[in-house]
């Protein structure tokens, strides 16, 4: 019996082996959505808890990686729905790109605020598509939506962001 079959039949050792194999990848996916290392760790554990609970529904012929990513995306989405209060970037999160010095602190804060005002499902898609540059088909696979629907929702998110930023006195096209 292979690892996935053992896991599907409820073997805890098989679950531990899968946890060790995939925890880094699941964490790396979640942190790109929630942008906070502590929350990403908690959600990684929550994801594997959900995986453990639904092990009987897992098809050993399928991809564990894809299944885990989908569950991780749902866990991250649930978190975004619960927590809409946070408006600042966590201090412990290093930036990949050094922000343009010309961009004022106030403008950055407004961008973050406008982003936080997006409904959770749009924020998730916009984070992955517009900030993390994740291909639409990867996002579609992780969310269970079609690639077309992902595109439509990202487009709606862009429209909402433009409107909110406009109300804050910021015009993206003109500012960049």
């Amino acid at each position: 019996m292979d690892l996935l079959e053992r896991f599907a039949s409820g073997d805890l050792e098989a679950f531990e082996a899968l946890f060790q194999q995939h925890q880094r990848e699941v964490y790396a996916w979640i942190i790109r959505i929630v942008r906070d290392s502590g929350i990403a760790e908690d959600l990684t554990v929550e994801t594997f808890w959900r995986i453990y609970r639904s092990q009987a529904r897992f098809d050993p012929a399928g991809s564990f990686q894809a299944w885990a990513r989908r569950i991780a995306t749902n866990a991250a989405l649930d978190h975004l729905r619960r927590d809409r209060r946070e408006t600042e970037l966590p201090a412990d999160l290093p930036a990949a790109v050094c922000p343009d010095s010309a961009v004022q602190h106030d403008v950055r804060r407004k961008i973050q605020q406008a982003f936080q005002l997006l409904p959770a499902k749009y924020r998730l898609l916009a984070t992955l598509a517009l900030i993390e540059d994740e291909p639409y088909n990867h996002i579609a696979a992780a969310t269970g939506l079609s690639a077309n629907l992902v595109k439509i929702r990202v487009f709606r998110a862009v429209r909402m962001l433009r409107k909110t930023l406009g109300a804050m006195g910021i015009t993206p096209g003109a500012a960049s």
Binding site: F19, Y27, I31, R32, S37, E41, T44, A96, I111, E132
Partner: protein
């Protein structure tokens, strides 16, 4: 021609917002997990698997429905035979 113009406008919008967002919310640089989370996982497994004195979590809406059904039975006991007939 009009749809193509709209498409161009949409992609221009997306490019503008994309660039703008990255100034306020740069992509996450460090996606490496710094520690093994298995001990936390084990703790959660043991916590969640421990027998609870309280029954499994039931949403408030289900409790409300159960209360309503109970109240209906108390107020209109005549519906009890009708329910037995249907079930």
């Amino acid at each position: 021609m009009k749809p193509a113009n709209h498409r161009d406008q949409h992609s221009q919008d997306e490019r503008d917002i994309r660039g703008f967002l990255k100034e306020g919310l740069p992509p996450v640089a460090n996606t490496e997990l710094s520690r093994d989370l298995w001990p936390q996982m084990l703790e959660k497994l043991s916590r969640q698997s421990a027998p609870s004195l309280w029954p499994a979590r039931v949403p408030w809406f289900d409790w409300a429905l159960a209360a309503l059904a109970g109240a209906a039975l108390l107020v209109f006991p005549g519906i009890i035979p009708a329910l037995f007939y249907h079930f």
